[in-house]
């Protein structure tokens, strides 16, 4: 195996050029790495290559120092093994959503020495969109990226995968494959399936009822629009952990149904929900930042939003997030600017002085 520095400078082979594989290719190409692309669908390789994610892999390419496997979950174990055997000096990683099942599939296919060159990983940057056209070099910027060495992973292989994640702009979180799968069962797979159940009740609904849909139900159900065949594989590969959590939720749901039917207090369950929302760390893993909303009424013309941001820029306040809510048919929209709590008063005052109607 070459030295880590050699690996980091060496060519990278991306196997599977969907949303994640293409985004990795774009980010690495931007960072000056030599990226080759492989996919069973040549048209995907053409698309990804056309976007600037790298060149199509071909016979006679230089040996890759790093292989990034970004194929569907069910194929991971087999493809990782193939790549370890095909490239006996390369570090191999994957970006799949589940980590123990592919590792188990690998155990019977490669020896210990080859297995030492494999380190799993998982960027937390999926989307309900898919395919190379949805890819972006900035997809991973500031996102958590789990790096999941197994007991036999070589330290320099781990370093190469951490380097990959950091080159893509992500923030690495190192944990074991088992810890990872328990974590994503709770923070990703369970929320997904619960959103699916809520959305399922909408599929049944009389159309008139759906006219009352507000922002809440849109947020709760958004992820349920994700690709069913992908989610079948993800949940299938993490079935025991997901089933455990689903059974815990069923116990809670039984209690909730009993309380609603009998008129018993809901405070214990509602309070625990509030505590759960507050337990989610701030974006990118930091402590939850103290932010405030500044709400501005903005006339619905192309130039007005520009004027608002120009004014905010002159005021010197950095905007953490924006939500625009307007009806194309109406003259005024509502723009919510999220800024640090300390900046909110300044921004509200200074926008008011510039003639913007804020908050009231």
């Amino acid at each position: 195996m070459p030295e880590p520095d050699g690996e980091r400078a060496g060519p990278v082979l991306v196997v599977g050029v969907g949303l994640l594989g293409t985004s990795v290719g774009l980010a690495l190409t931007r960072a000056g790495r030599d990226v080759r692309l492989l996919d069973p669908h040549p048209e995907h390789v053409r698309t990804a290559s056309g976007l600037g994610a790298g060149r199509a892999a071909k016979d006679g390419d230089p040996e890759p120092a790093l292989v990034v496997v970004a194929c569907p979950p069910d194929a991971l174990g087999g493809v990782i093994a193939e790549q370890l055997l095909a490239h006996p000096d390369a570090v191999v990683t994957d970006v799949g959503s589940v980590k123990t099942a592919p590792l188990a599939a690998l155990a019977s296919r490669v020896d210990r020495a080859a297995g030492a060159r494999y380190v799993g990983s998982h960027p937390m940057a999926g989307s309900e969109r898919s395919g190379p056209l949805a890819a972006s070099a900035t997809l991973f910027e500031g996102r958590p990226w789990a790096v999941t060495p197994h007991g036999g992973s070589a330290p320099d292989a781990v370093a190469a995968v951490v380097d990959l994640a950091e080159t893509c702009g992500a923030v690495t979180v190192t944990m074991s494959p088992g810890e990872h799968d328990l974590a994503v069962a709770r923070t990703s797979h369970l929320p997904h399936l619960m959103a699916v159940l809520v959305a399922g009740r909408l599929a049944d609904a009389p159309r008139d009822q759906l006219a009352l849909s507000g922002q809440g139900v849109r947020d709760v159900t958004r992820v349920a629009g994700g690709d069913p065949s992908l989610w079948q594989q993800i949940v299938g590969a993490n079935a025991p952990a997901v089933a455990d959590l689903l059974r815990e939720v069923r116990t809670d749901l039984d209690g909730l149904i009993g309380a609603v039917e009998s008129g018993a207090p809901l405070a214990p369950v509602l309070d625990r929900g509030v505590a759960g929302v507050r337990a989610i760390p701030g974006k990118h893993g930091g402590p939850p930042a103290e932010t405030s909303l500044v709400v501005v009424a903005v006339p619905d013309h192309p130039g007005e939003l520009a004027r608002l941001f120009a004014d905010a820029g002159e005021i010197g306040v950095n905007i953490e997030d924006v939500r625009i809510d307007h009806d194309p048919g109406r003259p005024v929209g509502r723009v919510e600017l999220t800024v640090t709590a300390a900046h909110a008063v300044v921004l509200r005052h200074a926008l008011g002085e510039r003639g913007w109607e804020t908050q009231r």
Copy 2:
């Protein structure tokens, strides 16, 4: 009862100046209406009045033509009855989240003639924030606002409440109180409680697991941060409809647990989730608009976002929505602009010409 035109021009009394009552006061004051404010907490009236939502109600005020009751759900029936009796010429409405329970409470307290002046209503514009300081004159802009006449509501009273909603900028949806309660059980109360159950599983979680929280779980659980005492009252007042849906979800959940445990296909339930997400009408009740995302890398300085929006404004493309994702510690953020599908290609090309890195 005066003529509708007279009512529309007459004074309005807002009873209860939390988020919704204060926002109604702000919107009506902006529209030139004479608004008086009443609340058991004088400090809330002072705050709402200071924000410009109207004047504190006092003895000797002119008789209101319209009373808007915006108090907590449990108090609605009693307060609506009080107001119908105190103002024998006024139309009375409320903005509560549930419509049949207050109507039933009203039946034993006022006669048929007084009841004819009551028409329930419900703007779909809540928030996980509460209180007069969270209020905004634009809160209702383009939002659905249910108007729920009962069998004995007078037509001119219905017209006055429709006029209220339209003056606040909302889009009215007329339905019976019973239809309304079934609709919000499905589109609001069920999603809320399911978000609470997901968030409850986070409250239990080892902190390390939460480091992998992505945008999905944040979206699914956001509403679960709402005020528990308010949600206790809302769910309590709509218990039969909510319990029916919770039992339907339990049946689905049992099936899902069985499928996950046995490795059976999840496609039926996942596909129904996709259908449910697609069934939600576009913002403001129109058909879902065809929109596309344009993703732009933006340096993390106050002026850069302004420059981006200035360029978008010059290009002449209207931005439907924005999401900013950046880590305060990193030099480049990711800005997702939602525009109509027809505008996406134009915007991407023109931003590229101006030196912005879009999408890849």
